[in-house]
Point group: C2
Chain length 226, copies 2
């Protein structure tokens, strides 16, 4: 009996990755670079976007807001006059705890891709599942706030491991915390050695220039994150 | 044609609830009250347990630690000489983002139910999915830290709605935050009117007595949370 060995690429079997690849092709065709922006609830994603999104060295940015319910973050960004699209995940009982490629795909018709160079997708606040679902992004950024403790890289390793940039936020609070920054950085290097990291404070503006430059660079033609 | 109308209770069809009910029966048989303890990552669940778990007015407590990976929280509690059992959810790719009734059931043989009156199940740090899965608990407690912002009840309503007690933690940081406590309480009442809430600081010990009393009361024979 003749047998043909069929090589099946595991990734191709994964529906999410198939759709993520389709999203990515659509983004590429439109010339839009995409950042998947993730963190625990309340780490400061929206505040960090508010600081930079309207002033990215000529890069035209848009935001896709992923939330279980409501449009509070989209409302906060509205006054910045960048296009913001809201995506809610609460069609299920308690709502989905992450965005997946198909949810992002469902939002594509509502996104003004022809008018932007960069799309930041603000994911649902969660350190577990968002890391498991590619949505068609060029780069992943996560926010880790110093109020969350030094142990988070070890407890949520996949999230820290799959990011190109880690923003360590709320550093203005360091004098008021029992927090060992060196220990956090040590734990970070244990799960993702030498990943790019920035110390920032959305509240005081410290470190924000570097974050702005990084984000603008993603969308620049010569961007290293292409 | 004769037709019999069969009344099917929706809840009975749900495998998780079926197993949660079995867990509950086993806990009841052992005379153990169970608290499902939930929050976002880094809100302070373990610190709040460290403060009270070894000194509950004669109530013998045990802890079931749910984590994606590792045993850091269990290690932190080890010196308190209360029984701590570790349950990891990382059998999948990135790990499960919550405990469900079946995971808790799988831990039952490892739990010293005959030696305790109260079991605190520290859930995976996440404000979405843990709220969707009953595990056989008598009461649900969540921690919301003031560093997370005032909007969390509106963004994660199911979690706030299904709790018997909300611990508002890290109040020692209030002088250093742009945080409006009244606004948080207003949002809390919007999704769960009059839910019991306590202002606490695991760091300074403020409010900890009330939390200790509440927890001891759950396990007391005349407990209102029976």
């Amino acid at each position: 009996m003749h047998r043909t060995k069929v090589k099946v690429v595991e990734e191709a079997l994964d529906a999410n990755n198939t759709i993520a690849t389709a999203n990515r092709a659509d983004f590429d065709r439109a010339g839009v670079r995409v950042v998947n922006f993730m963190s625990a609830p309340g780490a400061g994603k929206t505040s960090l976007l508010e600081r930079v999104i309207a002033d990215l060295d000529g890069v035209r940015a848009g935001v896709l807001e992923g939330d279980v319910q409501g449009s509070m973050d989209a409302d906060r960004l509205a006054h910045l006059h960048v296009p913001v699209t809201q995506l809610n995940t609460d069609s299920g009982f308690g709502g989905e705890c992450h965005l997946d490629a198909n949810m992002v795909r469902s939002a594509l018709p509502a996104l003004p891709l022809a008018e932007i160079d960069l799309l930041v997708i603000e994911n649902v606040g969660n350190l577990v599942c968002p890391a498991e679902f590619r949505v068609g992004e060029d780069a992943r950024v996560m926010v880790c706030s110093v109020t969350e403790g030094e142990d988070k890289p070890l407890k949520y390793p996949l999230m820290f491991r799959t990011c190109e940039l880690v923003l360590i936020n709320k550093i203005d609070l360091l004098p008021h915390l029992d927090f060992d920054l060196d220990k956090l950085l040590y734990n970070l290097d244990a799960v993702h050695p030498d990943v790019e990291r920035m110390l920032v404070s959305a509240r005081t503006g410290e470190g924000i220039e570097a974050w702005r430059d990084w984000l603008a660079h993603v969308a620049a033609p010569e961007g290293v994150h292409a």
